[in-house]
């Protein structure tokens, strides 16, 4: 479903990687590995169509993503280093507004259910800036749970999560993949997920 051929990436004057091929289908997940500064984040951003590759092409369902534009973005969920969580807003508002930004309405029950699932019950109406770092990450996970997307691209999703949250996130990813979704992620720690594809980035 998502395939890339001969990708290369140049940052500043440095060539991070070149001739990179990858291919992930429904029900598969891909672990992007490599040293610090090897270009893992750059690769994910290129795959998410945030920045163009220096060379090479990415296809989604056989079509170049540059042509698909919003049809690709509708099926994509990207989670970067910063989680796009607004500190001034409550977890509930964050969920509702993020959904609206994606062009969909999220109903109240669904939002509250997702927040409860990630242990944020009782924190729904507290501004995010009063939450702990781990709780902030959980708001993100709740967004993952409510967003209907086929392709997940997650950059270091396990950072700043406690043991229980790690379990929850890996549960989410497994659920997503077994339902025919695709996940591409980076992680500097061991991932408690079975049967992943692995790709190494770097010269």
């Amino acid at each position: 479903m998502l395939s890339a051929t001969a990708l290369s990436c140049i940052r500043g004057e440095r060539r991070l990687f070149s001739g990179l091929d990858l291919d992930v289908g429904p029900g598969e997940w891909l672990h992007v590995q490599g040293e610090n500064g090897a270009g893992k984040t750059s690769l994910l951003r290129i795959l998410a169509s945030l920045s163009p590759p220096a060379e090479g092409e990415i296809r989604w369902r056989g079509e170049p993503i540059a042509h698909l534009a919003e049809d690709y973005r509708r099926e994509l969920l990207f989670l970067g280093h910063h989680g796009a969580v607004k500190e001034e807003l409550t977890p509930y508002e964050n969920l509702i507004l993020a959904a609206r930004l994606d062009g969909s309405e999220l109903d109240e029950v669904e939002a509250l259910k997702a927040l409860a699932r990630f242990g944020l019950r009782g924190r729904e109406d507290l501004a995010v800036r009063f939450l702990s770092a781990g709780q902030k990450r959980r708001v993100l996970l709740a967004r993952l749970a409510v967003r209907k997307a086929t392709l997940w691209i997650l950059d270091e999703p396990f950072t700043a999560l406690d043991v229980k949250a790690v379990e929850m996130l890996s549960g989410l990813i497994v659920e997503h993949v077994t339902q025919g979704g695709i996940a591409i992620l980076t992680s500097h720690q061991a991932i408690p997920l079975p049967n992943g594809k692995i790709i190494m980035v770097g010269a």
């Binding site: 945030l50 796009a84 062009g103």
Partner: protein
């Protein structure tokens, strides 16, 4: 709901909600405007005829500066927390979302200036007709300031010394708005009629509505790459 309008409204509602949560930013710009305008008579002297003459220019220059104040924070918070990436990746066209952000910026910084300007005009002894023209001119001109300013804010996003650079880029582009905006009131006072000025201001606004979100979007994509 209309497919074009929905994303714009969604962003406006979100940004207004955020502005409510950090009221101090909005109020700072507003009080800056009031203070700058009130300082001029202290520097120049209380002579009514002179004050009436300089009032439109003073209020417009103060409005330019007050708009500049919030401009650096137009995209910076969204850039810092990753929301801007999500906007680029949203299925809704980025241009519409950006238009929404610019509209919200105008509602939180431009509109209060328009509403407050008559009060400040009275301080400068402007009569009712002149005040009315000034409000209309500001109503047409302040969205123009937000639209042009957004281009500068996007170009300087995440750069060192961004704030100062932003003024350097944007203030020269504000010159036509200043000339026609302040000119409208002056033309009315001198009996020439403000119609010409106001229609030119409206024409500039139409041009900017069409052109500025496009340029801003292009600049944001570059900044995010």
């Amino acid at each position: 709901m209309n497919a074009t309008l929905a994303p714009i409204l969604a962003i406006i509602r979100r940004d207004l909600l955020l502005a409510m949560r950090r009221k101090s930013e909005v109020l700072t710009a507003l009080f800056f405007f009031i203070i700058v305008v009130s300082l001029f008579p202290l520097g120049i002297g209380p002579e009514t005829a002179l004050l009436r003459k300089i009032a439109p220019g003073v209020i417009w220059v103060a409005a330019l500066l007050a708009t500049m104040l919030g401009l650096a924070r137009l995209f910076a918070p969204d850039h810092a927390d990753g929301t801007l990436e999500q906007m680029v990746l949203s299925p809704s066209p980025l241009g519409l979302l950006i238009t929404g952000k610019i509209a919200a910026h105008w509602i939180t910084t431009g509109l209060p200036l328009v509403l407050l300007a008559p009060v400040l005009g009275i301080q400068f002894d402007l009569d009712g007709g002149a005040l009315g023209i000034m409000v209309v001119a500001l109503l047409l001109g302040t969205p123009l300031l937000s639209l042009i300013g957004a281009i500068g804010a996007a170009l300087t996003l995440g750069l060192r010394g961004g704030g100062v650079l932003l003024s350097l880029l944007v203030l020269p582009l504000y010159v036509p708005a200043l000339i026609f905006g302040a000119g409208a009131v002056e033309a009315h006072i001198s009996g020439l009629g403000a119609g010409g000025h106001l229609s030119l201001l409206a024409a500039l606004l139409a041009l900017a509505v069409f052109f500025a979100p496009w340029a801003t979007t292009a600049a944001l994509r570059i900044a995010i790459e």
